[in-house]
Symmetry: C2
Subunit: 332 residues, 2 copies
């Protein structure tokens, strides 16, 4: 019996459990850990985990794979707490929104006989917490993998296998590049949504505006509802990247302001160009994902199966590839 421990039964931790369960891997026990008794009980009732544990130090004993899915600012404490109890060769990974600081903490606090591989699934949802957990959350989304310098190749392959098993697409990236890229497409949008809510919230007309606000406003402001512990975590660990992107954005917005004041037609032309960028993105997104999936499910994954789960995942992988080939046919 192999043991996977998920520490933190929030949206991502719970969804990981459900997705792993849906992958139907035999002879693997998934143990869920959370200080919040309700969260961990709900996770068990939903079937996200087979067993529960309150103390990370107890849970990780004998585990082959430990996934840390708590708010990012809890990582240092958790790493220190589990460090003395991790088995030789155990693999530790995380799902934190930033990677540079996390890699430093892992190096600082985890013992040399374990393998740390940073991770970040590019998936989210408006509903936070275990109540929003969803087995399909990671389907067709990218999953960033950031190996640490002294990680074994086989550990990375285990993570590739995990990512593929939950339906996501492995995406290798360095920690610093990750934080810059994610700053632009995730942390900046969060700031923009929050600033929009802050602005309307302090306006005396908000009482009326709030009645008129419809689906467009709801979508634009969605990220403002992000979990405060997440917002704090990214602000503390990705400040420079966020400042960089805020400056870039402010520059564009000032340009827009000038153009709108001086030449309305040219301004509308700019809006139209921005639309083209987005439409092109949506098009390549729907075509590109499948191509990337094929490219990134390489022999490395095959190898990892043998190493980690004794070939028990091979069937699953084959099923997934068959499914993709079918999709492929349908789209032709």
């Amino acid at each position: 019996m192999d043991k996977i421990v998920i520490i933190g039964m929030g949206l991502i931790g719970g969804s990981l459990g459900l997705a792993l369960k849906a992958a139907n891997i035999r002879n693997v026990e998934i143990v869920g850990v959370d200080m919040d008794r309700d969260a961990v009980n709900t996770a068990k009732r939903k079937g996200a985990v087979g067993a529960t544990e309150r103390m990370p130090s107890v849970a990780v004993k004998g585990a082959q794979l430990v996934l840390v899915a708590t708010p990012i600012m809890a990582f240092p404490e958790i790493f220190q707490e589990i460090a003395p109890h991790l088995s030789e060769g155990a693999i530790v990974s995380d799902v934190g929104s930033t990677k540079e600081q996390v890699m430093k903490w892992a190096e600082m606090y985890l013992p040399p006989h374990v393998n740390f591989v940073g991770g970040h699934p590019m998936a989210g949802k408006e509903v936070a917490g275990i109540s929003g957990a969803d087995a399909a959350l990671f389907q067709q989304t990218l999953y960033c993998i950031v190996p640490s310098q002294n990680t074994s190749k086989s550990s990375v392959e285990v993570i590739i296998g995990l990512v593929s098993a939950i339906g996501a697409i492995p995406y290798f990236v360095s920690a610093d590049e990750h934080d810059v890229l994610v700053g632009g497409i995730s942390h900046l949008p969060l700031m923009l949504s929050a600033a929009l809510m802050a602005m309307v919230g302090r306006n005396p007309s908000w009482d009326e505006m709030s009645k008129l606000a419809s689906s467009g406003f709801r979508d634009t402001s969605r990220l403002a509802s992000s979990d405060p512990s997440l917002s704090l975590g990214i602000s503390l660990t990705n400040q420079q990247s966020m400042l960089h992107w805020l400056d870039e954005y402010l520059a564009v917005l000032r340009e827009y302001r000038k153009l709108l004041a001086e030449d309305v037609n040219m301004f509308a032309e700019e809006l139209s160009k921005a639309r083209d960028v987005r439409d092109h993105w949506l098009t390549t997104l729907s075509q590109g994902d499948r191509d990337r999936l094929f490219k990134d499910l390489p022999s490395a994954s095959e190898q990892m199966m043998e190493m980690f789960l004794g070939g028990r995942m091979s069937q699953l992988m084959r099923q997934q590839e068959d499914k993709l080939r079918e999709m492929e046919k349908k789209h032709r």
Copy 2:
């Protein structure tokens, strides 16, 4: 047989047709008009309209109600074209995103023997055009009604009846107030989304970022995909309000930038406050809509039915009220 003419078979025009059809009003003919032969044919095939016509001037002959749902910049031409052919007492309304300029055009170009009532359904969708048309688009959404100075009370009541028939909630507002409010919750978000796409689009990292961008980015940038004719229309007719909101927003964003640079914890605190504003909005939204619906379906609507459709809509209204009462019960 009463005749309702919808000029413009886009998302809103098509959805209006479908919603009116779903309301199942007997003895009413809905005629769809569009220069685009494909759009008008699709509308007919979808059942959004019973008959089609290419020329607005021909279509409006003998019509009791004319709804103009083309891009806003086409309004002056359409008003002038239909003016000589409108029946005595005909009601003309529109679905344009701004109201002050539209009310001026109506006064300028429409004859005094017709009644103009400005309208603006607060509903939208990512998919533009007739292909996105949806009978349920207006359900539980507010529908702004802006009567012109010399509109008869009965004409306004007809529009209330129309709004109620398609499942929307009448919301009375003056033209200038409308344009300010909508500038903040609709046109500003559009500019913010577009500026986000413009920014990433010109960044050399967009190629990689575009792969990582997920549902959060997709939602924040959604409005950037708005129809260019819509963007042009609002920019040309609501420039001052848009400039006002851009300035308000820039001020908040500059505050954010300063705080993020100087005090990350305080910055995260601000993000958390913005979250509270949004959560409160979402809560009142789900409770408030039903209350408002009950309050705003008054005897005025009952009266209009008698006047316009000889009581034929009474049954429909009663059905709707029954449905609401059932919902009410379920939610208790």
